[in-house]
Symmetry: C2
Subunit: 246 residues, 2 copies
């Protein structure tokens, strides 16, 4: 667990915006910093043998206990002022309980990646700098550490753009889900309501869903059918892109 600066690429950090979907709400995984009590994104550094994606996969495996995480870099954050006035770093330096302090005090640029995960499968684990890890609703995220609020905002923007030419939902929903759940995801990301019937027709026309014979019982009303993604066609759609927008 010891941190050895020599194993890592200098000047480069990564920050991950982990999105989950639960109770028809989009959530982000956040860490609560030990000394400052600020909320921050899970992140870390890149080992000399890793790509940025490798590093993010490793870090998120530790934070979520998930292997096989869907992630995508979306932006580099390189404002020279972005890590100035970092209270957490100040505290660390004062406390002096970390080696390689000058390494941390240097300027970093950060590669932003977003990850889409199945909310129900995540076991959130804090890192060395935090004492709590958990989900927050998108609209309940207040001010985050450093420029992390900006990073979340840009990640969300990217996701919203991607939804119009790529299928989405795999990685974000459980294996089996209902049409209303999928629609709620789209509505959350797009920030607007969609017509139930037209949504169904359109999403089915993409041919990326398998309708299952089962229905989801236990709801207060008529039991909706369950669907799963047709992975083969889903991947094809990812490559070729979808036609129209929403």
């Amino acid at each position: 667990m010891g941190f050895n600066a020599k194993e890592y690429l200098e000047s480069v950090s990564i920050d991950c915006v982990v999105f989950g979907f639960h109770n028809n709400q989009l959530k982000v995984l956040l860490l609560k910093m030990k000394y400052t009590q600020e909320w921050s994104l899970p992140g870390g550094f890149v080992k000399l043998s890793e790509t940025v994606e490798d590093a993010a996969t490793r870090i998120l495996r530790e934070r979520t206990s998930l292997t096989d995480i869907f992630l995508k870099q979306f932006r580099v954050f390189s404002d020279p002022e972005r890590s100035k006035m970092n209270p957490a770093l100040k505290d660390l330096i004062e406390l002096g309980d970390q080696p390689d302090l000058d390494w941390f005090a240097k300027r970093f640029i950060s590669v932003g990646l977003y990850a889409l995960v199945d909310f129900t499968k995540v076991i959130a684990v804090p890192d060395n700098f935090s004492d709590y890890a958990g989900w927050k609703n998108l609209d309940e995220i207040g001010n985050l550490m450093l420029d992390h609020s900006l990073i979340v905002q840009k990640a969300l923007n990217t996701l919203r753009l991607q939804i119009s030419y790529q299928p989405i939902g795999y990685n974000l929903l459980p294996e089996k889900f209902t049409m209303p759940e999928l629609q709620a995801l789209y509505e959350t990301l797009l920030g607007k309501t969609l017509d139930r019937r037209n949504f169904q027709r359109k999403i089915l026309s993409f041919d990326i869903l398998n309708k299952l014979p089962e229905t989801k019982k236990g709801g207060a009303h008529k039991a909706p059918f369950l669907y799963e993604f047709n992975l083969e066609n889903y991947k094809k759609a990812l490559e070729n892109g979808l036609t129209g927008g929403w």
Copy 2:
């Protein structure tokens, strides 16, 4: 002109894919390396006081003599092997005519940015490592130095995606241009031919063009009207996105 490694962010380089459009062909600005004679992308390093975009602007000002360049980061290239076996570096090290050689020999991740410029306004200038700078047609780019071929490919991909939800052409065409020229740009980027009449109707429906009273004379046939971008609406379209794809 002297290079002082201490002024720069460690481990981070940038590579710029500069696109220009001329004679109905998409072109990329390339440098020919001094010793190896390999072709490479213009690039460089990030000063401690700069953002990635600042650095790219500075570097491209030197390479193109343009100020005010439209550019956008599109990807980080972080394969640990990407700068191994660099013949150029080997030669440099053998020649020993550069200070800070171990700095260069370290592993770098590179931020890829693409730039769109007006071909006719560029005065290409080589850098310290190259003895020639000039344009190459997209289909005439052979193997480039390091992973630069991959970088060009990814930049092009990004551009192709963006064209379907954003207006394009400003920064890439002269102030005044004809409809066939604009169409040729779209056809090049999309890699397919479009119907002249449908193209005109669609692009006009975006309301981002001003039709000028002048025509472009000198062609062998009927003189086409000149257009210019309506900057106000163009910017609106950039923010709001366009509706359909191509």
